[in-house]
Symmetry: C3
């Protein structure tokens, strides 16, 4: 029987590879989803309220979509993206939806298109092709679905077969939504929805409001952050609170991968300058770099897996930032050096099996030169999945083609969806599983790996490996 | 009926992809050629004289060919490349032709070979394989063709189905050849042969004779370039003259992509130093960088599309430069940074829909990290086709594989042949169309894009997109 | 008749490409092996003693294997890797073998796995799949083979169809083992086993013991290395001795590709500082860079082909270096710049056909930007095969896909196995031949190259080209 339409999505078209890929994909397809790194708002699952209208759910918050339209001259305000100064923006969901649909051809060949089409089909049961002609009809279909109880967040969570979903919170967060989830039997250590410790806004002195954030950190933690030692205590204390809320990892988004080992006195000097408002950009970079090594030391104590996300130049599009603020599509990657940057951290703890550092990149031109040799040579290092601009079929494939030969499969960390778009979680994992199936199928077709080992590998990549690397299901306390 | 030999050139060999690629290529194949960026001497079309002998037409001026022979120890003088000091070089066309043919194996797998073979076959009707054995016979066949009226430049232009061809001139050019073309009904705004404003020799203080060029610029423009303000006036005035001669774009070949926004006073200081002969290399770089932002401002006023060609280290082969001068194969690419370099220009005008900047690269290791995210995030930016060393089947394919996922198809600018070799224009466009057909066919075969959308896309890439991006056929005055 | 199992290893699976690839591979398969760059201990062939037990032969000295286990937390001491301080390590071959086999899944998709499997099968006749279940049995099979006379090094050398094998020696080596080989009819100019002049330990002031090495160099050469002039004389004299022992090339392993042309006086000053122990890291880098240009000048005189291996950061894994010393898997590549770095050398001798410089890289992100344009534009430059971390099926393929279009096939230098693992030599060459067959098959299938030319090319790449580029079989004296 021929497969259903769409069943071979992303699988190699060469028949011998496709046959093997189908077989491998079938093994991975229904594995529970492990999502150890994402940005879904925990309130969605804590409150389990119905989603808003289709445009507000799908278009307005998705900067992949709005930046593409900006690149063709359509300003974000016309798509409902809120302004910093409250200047009016389009508010009619259907108008936004139509405007978006009118430019659907811009997304040909992009992962955004793929994610949307698959979400429409598999989450909402829409079978008509999206585009200007069907936009209204599809809007209505989705709106109708969203009103049904089966499309509430928790129902979808179960339909999506998610085993564990990690959200990301600042140390300043009171973790109240996670407490609610735990009370409902959805959260806490080993639970279905867990948190991640993301301290950037209290580590990066160049972050707007860092000094105030550090003050608040002291209040939340019940320690005096007037000194560097108190600051470290506060961080340690918040990590414990996060672990109690289920966290198994921390996440660090830095402009570069620089690490640095300062004495406590040197670090305290930088800290004091930061609080006094006299820190230079170099001070800020040194402090961030030093704190990565501090966090590694804390990880060895408390067991949190470290995630390092370097390489994004934030708010590169100045006009966009001035009008619409952070995280609306104005960030751009920059060249990222890992080898020398990570040396201080690796010299200190690189071979310590108690430490686990998952390193991501936005710069694929480090795959074979730096990242794969590092991950294949240090016990503490794992390679994270291609991230953000690189979370796409072509790069997922190039990632395996590039890193496997030096790092193997088992120094990679498994797929992370890294998304705020809850409804897109299944398709993102599905894309990764399909690409891995295709890559492994080629190894089999070229007689480089027997089918039984490829079969074991695809299940490991889809399920066991991310679970193990990120300690999902483990209780750190 | 099976396709003719050669019909499947460059199409993927996997049967399902090949069948789709044939279908797509058939749609693109006969689209008129839009050549918005090239270096054909306009005198060729203005005078419409017969071409010289085959060696002088095809080998001597083609530095792709002569540099490959130099790399194997055959000096350019033996191939007839003129010397700076007038030292004698080989002058016999047939000897040059035979010498070249004797080393034909060196070109296996290169685009040069592909272009030549297709040119021999499709322009000159030569069906024998080129090589040492048939060299003489093929020389005679081509020489015979070149004597025929149907092989005069204008006749070939029509045979090639070129809709518009842009040449490149310095602001010092009197545009006389374009005036002749216009008088003959071949040129002028919206015409078949148009010019491009290429001001490098009056912008780059490190260019031989910059100060004299700036003097002459004043004379040609009828303004006093003794001051920076007069210099800007002269440039504005020449842009108007170029627009009147059909130009729709300017072209800027810089060693780096650096842009800089100086005050008029700062710029004037650099300008004066340049004229006084006291400018440092840093001054020259700052002035070039500043002028890019100035040209962007002028573009917003007068509508010329900006093209930025950074990354070539000119005259790297010192021995070659000393003996044979510029543009004979001695340039080599260097690593090119775009993100920080373009920031001043983008901060000023990056989201202004009146500006259009087409950025090229010789450094493919910026495709996914910088170029695609930039083009997919700024209204003013478009990605130019892979250029020079990168204008080749493998890189054209990698370009689509790399940039489409972040920038889509519609933030790219279409193919430009960038060539001085008039007879190679059709095959260069044909290669690009074949590679795009193959790339789109894979998307279709992997169920990522429906055939009807792929069909629309290939025609857009071949024809509509370059026409639109470069304003071909538009009248800016 | 269908091919034997494993016959299509690494060939493209698309049937039309596979058919062509089989045909091409059949032509290359049995060509004699030319191994112009490797690290086999010449004592192995000089003494022709039986090999040690399987673990000591195959696992303990192979840092590709031990680093992968370290990356998963298994320390090298558990695999028998000797310690610097003599601290005890595992010594039981069978225990090491079992420990390795227990982690066999880590090597899926790596060249190490491929090399081992093919070595087991084709050298030792083991047909069972390797892994924990069969580890003991395979250990016994191999141990039994190793005791047979047919598995002595010289017998294997002949079975492997090696025509010439180059080893690598320091100028301080007395070349005694090569003298023994010559006496046995196995060595000397034009012989089966030849040496390579590798002066890093007397050139690189940052090398442990450089000053003492320079002293010893004087003793070995019988010159006074107390002065820079005497040092150069000593090097010239040792090169003559190496040439007399069959060397046709020198090899230079530098952290960067930097070259520099100092005056004799400047160089002497650096040299004196080095001997006085007052040289800075910058002095050391300048001296290394200068010496590359000196060695190029010597090459023009004495005919040795220069090999430049830049880009490895040695001993990056500090913990590993402290416990186990050099060359045990702790080196990592770094970004490598070639264009500006090589300029002084190329300005001096880049177009001199008497010089031949083979340049390697660990940074594939220079292939199309710098390396291919350089090799395709300078008479003296050749591109070496992908090296070390890049000696793998995927990169060998990407190498051809990237460099051929600018450099062709004939500015590359042919495959070098670069290995200490004698038994892996045949499979390494075989992998390269298979990948080249697949690449050429695609060119044929896409109608870019006729089959007869592809057939000539594959034999050139496998045999004639490395022989010619490295002057194998030539007598330089």
């Amino acid at each position: 029987m021929p497969p259903l339409p769409g069943a071979d999505l992303l699988l190699p078209s060469e028949p011998s590879q496709r046959a093997i890929a189908r077989e491998l994909y079938a093994l991975a397809k229904d594995q529970p989803l492990i999502s150890p790194h994402g940005h879904v708002d925990p309130a969605i699952l804590a409150e389990d309220a119905p989603f808003p209208d289709p445009a507000r759910l799908i278009i307005v918050p998705d900067h992949y979509l709005t930046r593409m339209l900006l690149s063709q001259g359509i300003p974000p305000a016309e798509l409902g993206v809120p302004t910093v100064d409250g200047a009016p923006v389009e508010t009619d969901g259907r108008t936004i939806w139509r405007r978006f649909a009118a430019h659907w051809h811009l997304y040909r060949g992009t992962p955004s298109r793929l994610w949307l089409e698959q979400t429409f089909r598999h989450v909402f049961g829409v079978t008509k092709p999206f585009g200007p002609a069907n936009a209204d009809e599809i809007y209505d279909e989705i709106a109708a679905r969203l009103a049904e109880p089966a499309f509430r967040p928790r129902a979808l969570f179960e339909k999506f077969n998610i085993e564990t979903l990690a959200t990301t919170e600042s140390p300043l967060d009171d973790l109240g939504r996670h407490a609610k989830l735990a009370a409902d039997g959805w959260g806490g250590p080993g639970g279905r929805v867990i948190t991640t410790f993301r301290p950037d806004n209290v580590v990066d002195m160049e972050f707007d409001g860092w000094a105030e954030n550090v003050e608040r950190l002291g209040e939340v933690a019940g320690t005096d952050t007037g000194t560097y030692a108190g600051y470290l205590d506060a961080l340690r204390s918040r990590r414990q609170a996060f672990i109690a809320a289920g966290a198994t990892s921390s996440d660090h988004g830095h402009p570069t991968a620089l690490t640095l080992r300062l004495s406590a006195a040197e670090a305290a000097t930088l800290y004091d300058r930061g609080r006094a408002g006299t820190a230079t950009p170099e001070d800020a970079e040194a402090f961030r770099a030093h704190m990565l090594v501090e966090f590694a030391a804390m990880s060895i104590e408390d067991g949190l897996v470290m995630q390092l996300h370097p390489g994004a130049v934030r708010n590169h599009n100045r006009w966009l930032y001035d009008r619409h603020g952070r995280d609306v599509g104005g960030d751009i990657p920059q060249a990222t050096e890992y080898l020398h940057a990570l040396t201080p951290l690796l010299d200190a703890y690189g071979n310590d099996p108690r430490l686990r550092v998952v390193v991501y990149t936005l710069d694929e031109y480090t795959f074979t030169r730096e990242l794969a040799p590092l991950a294949g040579g240090y016990a503490a290092l794992y390679l994270g999945a291609p991230w953000w601009f690189l979370d796409s079929p072509e790069v997922l494939r190039r990632f395996r083609e590039a890193v496997t030969e030096s790092a193997g499969f088992y120094n990679t960390a498994g797929f992370v969806d890294d998304t705020r778009a809850f409804c897109s979680i299944p398709v993102r994992h599905d894309v990764s599983r399909r690409i891995d199936a295709g890559f492994l199928a080629r190894l089999v077709a070229e007689e480089r790996l027997p089918l039984d080992e490829a079969a074991e590998t695809i299940v490991d990549l889809a399920y066991h490996l991310p679970k193990r690397v990120f300690k999902i299901g483990e209780r750190l306390l």
